[in-house]
């Protein structure tokens, strides 16, 4: 196949920069979830072996957290404008039964991101800020001593709740990627087929061809 026909068969969805940014966050998240779960439930403590033991798990976790937070902020800047929730998105979310049963033809047209993706985005934004702020109050030995113990208790609970919500949200996110065929390719190689864009993100598809890609 020549370069030209290749080009007509694909649409760029994520640039190399966006993909790198996404996967930096993803790798950090995976490490954070594994090390965090190790300290959360005794049944998961064995995961601390992956980090060189309990003490290393305790040392590394907050630093990885800072890396993820910075990378996540960059990601927020990249995708914020495409994630504003509108009337169309609420309607999309109301028809979640159609969505999960692969009856996509019944739901409103979708822009670059659908209602579910936008909801996920804002859930993650809240969680990441919650985790950062509460994390400082329990980060020993550096920051925790400057917070009153009552606040540290609250922070530990908030940290656990935010992490729990975030882990569940990411499980949904990962599964959605597997479920909607072509999504993993979009985030690994950057491109989707025109049919994929037409089916799942029709308004965005029309935008792209109008701009003459």
């Amino acid at each position: 196949m020549s370069d030209e026909s290749d080009r007509r068969d694909t649409i760029v969805r994520y640039s190399a920069g966006e993909r790198t940014n996404h996967w930096v966050v993803a790798i950090c998240f995976l490490l954070l979830a594994l090390s965090g779960l190790a300290l959360f439930h005794p049944a998961m403590f064995w995961l601390s072996n992956l980090f060189g033991g309990g003490t290393w798990t305790r040392i590394l976790h907050p630093f990885i957290g800072i890396v993820m937070f910075v990378a996540f902020i960059l990601l927020i800047v990249r995708v914020w404008s495409d994630n504003r929730i509108g009337e169309r998105d609420w309607q999309w979310l109301k028809q979640w039964r159609d969505v999960v049963n692969n009856r996509e033809e019944n739901v409103p047209e979708v822009g670059r991101y659908n209602g579910g993706q936008k909801l996920l985005f804002f859930v993650l934004v809240v969680c990441v800020f919650g985790l950062l702020l509460s994390g400082f109050a329990i980060w020993r030995p550096y920051f925790a001593p400057y917070f009153p113990v009552g606040l540290a208790r609250l922070a530990a609970t908030v940290h656990a709740i935010c992490a729990f919500v975030m882990i569940c949200a990411i499980i949904v996110h990962v599964y959605a990627g597997i479920w909607v065929k072509g999504s993993v390719h979009a985030m690994t190689r950057g491109t989707v087929t025109p049919g994929w864009a037409w089916k799942h993100h029709r308004a965005w598809f029309r935008d792209v061809i109008r701009r003459g890609q």
């Binding site: 005794p42 049944a43 113990v149 530990a156």
Partner: protein, 301 residues
Amino acid sequence: MALQSLDIIRRSATTTPSPNVRAEATTELAKLIDVSKCIGCKACQVACMEWNDLRDEVGTNIGAYQNPHDLSENSWTLMRFAEYENPKGDLEWLIRKDGCMHCADPGCLKACPSPGAIVQYANGIVDFHEENCIGCGYCITGCPFNVPRLSKRDNKAYKCTLCSDRVSVGLEPACVKACPTGAIVFGTKADMKDHAEERIVDLKSRGFEQAGLYDPEGVGGTHVMYVLHHADKPEIYCDLPSNPKVSPMVRLWKGAAKPLALGVMALTALAGFFHYIRVGRNETRASDEAAAQREMEKAHE
């Protein structure tokens, strides 16, 4: 067999029973501190640092008898001095020997994420095993008495052991041995309560109407108890909490939340798996590609 206690009734971050064949034969012990007999000599502090081979840094005088200023990784017990003006307008010098209370329901152990870093023996002693400590400081968050301290040298948490090493071979804790007035006594918890009863009767006969025993219910009772001449106002003894409890935040975080959160995470993943099995993937078909091509051609024209 290695030297081991075989009477561990609770072990941090452990979901199966710990070796405890000796637990049945063990009696609950307690240290009783009679605040009304204390003269503030600090012999207990000296005995503690001697027996445990601890040397705190020499601090500065802040115009109080309290020395050092606070508990630390090297000072596991501390005489706290309060100048209290009673309703009659008289000054009372209230001296309280602070340190780990060895709670029956220990918040530190509940919060600890590292298996075996904190254990509770059948005799009631709550002991830190620093070899297993990871330095997260959750014990500090869990403790309702503000006792554990993280060492700046090794980032491990330290506190009073109730001289578990001495007690295990039939000796009383070092502070008890050193106390010149008999303000600190040690024995079975039942005996200590009986002794406290006698002391309270005596104190009441001397005009301390509110004298009583401090063995707070909220943490299931403690294995370090106080006889207070003003048991109705524990706070006047340098902020001894009147109703200490493991914080509801800690109970939630290291209690119900643990199995609940793991369960919901597992269910979320399972929901995905069964969605895949029942509904299957959302695939782009040839008809979708054709529709897209039609629109693209139209846009070209």
